[in-house]
């Protein structure tokens, strides 16, 4: 199946957007609500399923199954496809939903498949199929919750994934393991073994402020890690928001400054 080869450019430093250049007839698939702007000549189309040729070929039952999976994971049933109906190159831009980095990943370079966290997908060339993958290790479903249902990006085009905060890429050697806060996992190659592990010590589970579980990733393969999961950012914002019981201190006030000194910036 022919993939659309997309030229792209990423703008901004920490609150980024990516601009895709589509040749006539080329198309991109975007996450609902991620579109920022598009030029004349680009048409928007909403299709049932993930917009890949694979889902177009499958029968009604296959479509329903796909829809069921998407419903189960809380994704929208429809995917928006942006295709260039003009006669020259046109651009469409997708913006990151919160501060972080946009990662451009060429799927053929990593074996054609990437597993990523549900909400980190931003956009992709048409032909990349957006699937759902359930971790086969039941423990992750029982204890972790997070990391049990992931998104599977498959194909041989470019995908754009968003990581919150600063991005770390780790290449794991065979057998090498890395323990990651479950929320900080952006994605990994399918060759990486993903498991959820209990922190191990009751005391640290209760008082360390970390979650009860780690994601343990075992090589070989590449792992993408984000420094700031949205939930962590949201927690801090809620804590600081006056309506939610946080303190509202004037930035310039003496007390405010003192309060800040004493307060520290502990999470």
């Amino acid at each position: 199946m022919a993939m659309d080869v997309i030229d792209y450019e990423i703008f901004g430093d920490d609150i980024q957007f990516v601009e895709l250049e589509l040749d006539p007839g080329e198309a991109a698939v975007g996450e609902a609500g991620a579109m920022m702007m598009m030029q004349d000549g680009i048409e928007m189309d909403t299709v049932f399923g993930d917009g890949s040729a694979q889902s177009a070929q499958s029968g009604l039952l296959g479509k329903l199954m796909g829809a069921g999976k998407r419903l189960l994971t809380g994704e929208s049933l429809f995917t928006t496809i942006f295709h260039n109906e003009g006669t020259s190159k046109r651009r469409v831009a997708f913006a990151a939903p919160y501060p972080g980095k946009i990662i451009a990943i060429s799927l053929p370079d990593i074996g054609g498949t990437m597993i990523c966290q549900k909400d980190s997908f931003l956009c992709a060339a048409r032909g990349v199929s957006l699937g759902i993958a359930f971790n086969r290790k039941i423990g992750t479903g029982l204890f972790g919750g997070e990391g049990f249902i992931m998104q599977k990006l498959e194909g041989d085009g470019m995908v754009f994934v968003h990581a919150g905060g600063t991005l770390a890429i780790r290449d794991l050697a065979p057998g090498e393991t890395l323990r990651i806060d479950t929320g900080c996992v952006v994605g990994f190659q399918p060759s990486v073994d993903f498991d959820i592990q209990y922190v191990g010590k009751l005391k640290s589970a209760l008082f360390s402020g970390e979650g009860l579980f780690f994601a343990t990733l075992r090589g070989p393969g590449r792992v993408w890690v984000q420094s700031l999961p949205l939930s962590r950012l949201a927690n801090r914002i809620i804590k600081a928001a006056p309506v939610a019981g946080g303190r509202s201190v004037g930035e310039g006030s003496l007390l405010g400054g003192l309060g800040g000194l004493l307060d520290g910036d502990n999470d």
């Binding site: 086969r136 039941i138 399918p190």
Partner: protein
């Protein structure tokens, strides 16, 4: 011709993300082919270490140690990895049997895990089901644990709350007759009874836990003898004696608790609902039948002719369907009950009973006017 499978190859000199190539299978070994530099690496079957890999789908890892280092081949596509397994005779690959055993263990563990998850998810439903089956027995047992003083207090408090809406006629010949009959029927009871007449033309009577029995004037007017009223009283008294009110209340509260647990809606308070429920108690058909039976026996014990009981049901049956008797709406069909009572009556083999010294019925003419309202 040997089959070829798509594979991700990790090894010395290759990028950490591996390289996409293919795997070929020979009777004695495997060969990995890297597409761009057309390098080939091979291993014999006995060298191979196998492991299950892959997120969300069963893939296969083939690993071996070569002279230049460690090689790993991942066949992640489920169809390919299944085909690969199928083509290997288990005996030829030492690792395969261990892998299969491991996978069997994994599968049973997964099944156990899913069952546990399902059990947890379904536990509210199971609880509801269990409660549904055992509610009566459970409520009966719990009602037995309630002290009589507590039941009495409950009944009296409820009656005090209802009192404002009822116009009581607790004097005169009708009341005296009712009280006399009641005393005779409840002699030796562990409860202290109080009887009340309410000026209400509807054909109704009810009992509250702890011994409050209330009869409407409409019901008294419909009776044609003291024995018939005694039958109704005996029935109501047995609701108290058998603790039907308390049981129904407990069942109702239990259902609320179960409902709250099942739905996670804890917004209603238990206590607030309790008083509400007592006011409009409805007993189950089984409870009604039990009250009929025990009531009949109580009449016989008290030396009152129980024939009045089925006779009154005959009167009720005639009124059935007119909607005039709320007493009926909550009760099993009058005909059924009448039939059951008549067969009990036949069982007495025409035992003689002295007529109640309350004739003529209704008690006095002056009250008859009031009763006709």
């Amino acid at each position: 011709m040997e089959a070829s499978y798509p594979a991700q190859i990790f090894g010395p000199g290759l990028p950490a993300t591996g390289r996409t190539g293919s795997l070929r299978l020979f009777p004695a070994g495997v060969e990995a082919i890297l597409p761009d530099d057309s390098r080939r690496v091979a291993a014999t079957l006995t060298e191979l270490r196998l492991r299950e890999v892959g997120f969300g789908q069963p893939g296969l890892e083939l690993a071996w140690t070569a002279a230049d280092g460690e090689w790993l081949i991942h066949v992640l596509d489920p169809a390919s990895s299944a085909a690969l397994r199928a083509q290997w005779p288990a005996a030829a690959v030492p690792g395969l049997q261990a892998l299969q055993a491991h996978e069997r263990r994994q599968r049973s563990r997964r099944r156990l895990g899913w069952s546990a998850l399902a059990l947890i998810a379904l536990s509210p439903l199971l609880l509801v089901g269990l409660f549904w089956l055992q509610a009566d027995r459970l409520a009966a047992w719990l009602a037995e644990q309630v002290p009589i003083a507590e039941e009495t207090r409950l009944g009296r408090t409820t009656f005090a709350a209802m009192r404002g809406e009822l116009s009581l006629i607790d004097e005169g010949p009708t009341y005296a007759a009712l009280a006399t009959l009641g005393q005779r029927l409840t002699a030796g009871s562990r409860y202290t009874y109080e009887f009340h007449v309410v000026a209400d033309p509807t054909l109704n009577a009810f009992a509250l836990p702890g011994g409050v029995v209330v009869v409407n004037t409409g019901l008294i007017a419909a009776t044609s003898s003291a024995e018939e009223l005694a039958g109704v009283l005996a029935h109501e008294v047995q609701h108290v004696e058998l603790r039907h009110g308390t049981q129904t209340l407990i069942k109702g509260l239990g259902w609320q608790a179960v409902w709250m647990f099942a739905t996670g809606d804890f917004s209603n308070t238990l206590a607030g609902q309790a008083a509400l429920q007592l006011g409009r108690l409805k007993f189950s058909r089984d409870a009604e039948r039990a009250a009929d039976k025990q009531g009949f026996e109580a009449l016989v014990r008290a030396g009152i002719n129980p024939a009045g009981m089925p006779r009154f049901f005959a009167t009720l049956a005639r009124q059935d369907g007119t909607g005039a008797a709320p007493f009926l709406s909550t009760h099993p069909s009058s005909q059924d009950r009448q039939a059951a009572l008549e067969s009990m009556l036949a069982g007495l083999n025409g035992r003689p009973f002295s007529a109640l010294a309350l004739a003529p019925w209704p008690p006095t003419a002056s009250h008859a006017d009031q009763l006709q309202q």
